[in-house]
């Protein structure tokens, strides 16, 4: 659904955030991983809070995880989402241990279940921005 009429809020393409979404545009979900202690992290940070190292690389995620929690937004609290309600912003915990805010796409809000298995898909919402979203597996 890539089009110029997309009115929803978009991330600012700056610094590490730009790098994160740049990989998504290539169809890759990558998170930072500390080169020293191997800890994964999200959201992007300059430094490893576990060991203090500033050496890291973008490592490919398995793209698989489980539903950690969600809410069903029945009343949109931002005008850009007026036509979407009810929709379900969710938090997914990847197998690597990091969590990210996302949306579950193939599942009605009423069917959301904590710990349900999910896997990443990529939604190119504009020519510049691709958002990682998730679909429930094993349905």
């Amino acid at each position: 659904m890539s089009n110029s009429d997309y009115k929803k809020p978009l991330p600012a393409l700056e610094g590490l955030t730009q790098e994160f979404y740049g990989f998504c545009r290539e169809g890759e979900l990558r998170f930072q991983r500390c080169a020293s202690c191997q800890a994964w992290r999200h959201v992007p940070r300059e430094m490893c809070a576990q060991c203090g190292s500033m050496d890291w690389s973008w490592e490919a995620s398995s793209g698989r995880g489980k539903l950690f929690t969600w809410t069903v937004a029945a009343r949109p609290l931002h005008a850009a989402f007026a036509d979407d309600a009810p929709y379900a912003p969710a938090v997914v915990e990847l197998d690597e241990g990091v969590r990210l805010v996302t949306e579950i796409v193939n599942c009605k809000p009423v069917d959301l279940e904590i710990d349900a298995p999910v896997e990443v898909i990529f939604d190119a919402v504009t020519p510049e921005i691709t958002l990682p979203k998730f679909r429930r597996t094993g349905l």
């Binding site: 991330p11 959201v43 929690t69 969600w70 809410t71 949109p76 850009a80 912003p89 969590r99 904590i114």
Partner: protein
């Protein structure tokens, strides 16, 4: 004791919706400041410290309007709704250190007639410490507003501990019941039953409309000084027995906390009780920042009134209502009095300790607790006592 900090003045405006306050946000807050000055028996020129609420005015602006010609301490604690109680700590430290003699702490807004309270953070998210993270990683998915952020925690708590909608409803009902005893509460005269609560429209699961704080116009203010100076004033000072603030980790991102229920209060509460030499069971009342019902339950757990996961059972059977073991939000709180950014919780705590609460007075109240909650779970807590 001589070098202890005290609250010596409180003030508030009428709280309303409908046609609104008819005043600017600054004028509204200045009215509350004037009321606090009169309550303390102080002149504006004696105020030499001012701590405005984040994004709601400058100390310079307050001083210029009020006539505070001797301003020498100006600061804002950037913790959203946790700011007023956290300011109590900073104001107390300032007067004890001699940085100021009398510190004025105002808060208030036209949260109904102006930009609606519900819109404030979604339109101004860059103003909070985690704002850029929310913009880049939450907003694209429609996670744009505090009830949605906190609902993520509430949903997980319900899953892990079996917390129910009826238990969240018990919190909303207690606040509403207390508002019937408070003429300045916006929900005074509007009873609510559990059926009304359950029938209220879903906003963001599990939050129904009546799980959410009000949007109102109104302002409140307090004045802090040392116990020594308080002795020269006419009124009864309320003692700050222990006060602390804290941040969750990480404070700027709400989903990657090792312990998803950990808030600033988890760190702050034990410190405040230790400073006061008291424990949760000593409290005669609790004014808990009630932006949403689950946050009351969560703060009761993190303050140590009950164990993690027991909050649901704790709020049942009228335990948090007047006459129960721990009356919570005797004024009606943000849910049923007004959303005055938590400053109204401090005002109510002071009134309870002065014995000025009339029909909603907690009998023989000598010590109570007030909390603040802001941004992605910043926390603050003060234990207050009679002089």
């Amino acid at each position: 004791m001589a070098n202890e900090a005290c609250i010596v003045g409180i003030g508030e405006t009428k709280y309303c919706r409908g046609e609104g306050s008819g005043m600017s946000q600054l004028a509204l807050q200045l009215s509350a400041c004037s009321a606090a000055l009169a309550d303390a028996g102080l002149k504006a020129r004696q105020i030499d410290g001012i701590m405005p609420f984040p994004n709601l005015g400058s100390a310079e602006g307050f001083a210029a309007n009020l006539g505070c010609e001797n301003l020498r301490f100006a600061a804002t604690i950037n913790m959203g709704g946790a700011a007023p109680v956290a300011s109590l700590q900073a104001a107390g430290a300032a007067v004890k250190a001699g940085a100021a003699d009398y510190v004025l702490v105002p808060a208030g807004w036209n949260g109904y007639s102006g930009r609606r309270a519900a819109q404030t953070l979604s339109e101004q998210v860059s103003s909070i410490p985690g704002g850029a993270i929310a913009r880049d990683f939450y907003f694209p998915y429609g996670l744009t507003s505090p009830p949605q952020w906190y609902a993520l925690m509430a949903r997980r708590h319900m899953h892990l501990y079996g917390t129910t909608a009826e238990q969240l409803g018990a919190i909303a009902l207690a606040m509403r019941k207390h508002a019937q005893l408070n003429p300045n509460a916006v929900m005074n005269g509007k009873d609510m039953s559990l059926d009304d609560y359950m029938a209220s429209p879903m906003i963001t699961d599990p939050y129904r409309l009546f799980d959410c704080c009000l949007e109102t116009d109104g302002a409140a203010a307090m004045i802090v000084t040392t116990a020594e100076r308080a002795r020269d004033l006419a009124g009864s000072p309320v003692r700050i027995l222990g006060v602390a603030a804290g941040q969750p980790y990480p404070a700027d991102e709400i989903t990657n906390r090792k312990d998803i229920f950990m808030t600033g209060l988890t760190i702050a509460a034990p410190q405040a009780f230790k400073k006061a030499g008291l424990k949760p069971s000593d409290m005669d009342f609790a004014q808990i920042y009630d932006c949403f019902t689950f946050e009351v339950l969560q703060q009761l757990e993190e303050t140590g009134f009950c164990e993690r996961g027991e909050g649901g059972a704790f709020v049942e059977d009228g335990r948090i209502e007047l006459g129960g073991a721990l009356p919570v939000n005797t004024h009606g709180g943000l849910l049923s009095e007004a959303h005055v950014l938590g400053m109204n919780h401090i005002v109510e705590a002071v009134r309870q300790l002065r014995g000025e609460c009339g029909a909603r007075q907690v009998k023989d109240a000598e010590v109570g607790v007030v909390t603040g909650w802001g941004d992605f779970g910043d926390g603050s807590i003060a234990i207050l006592g009679t002089a």
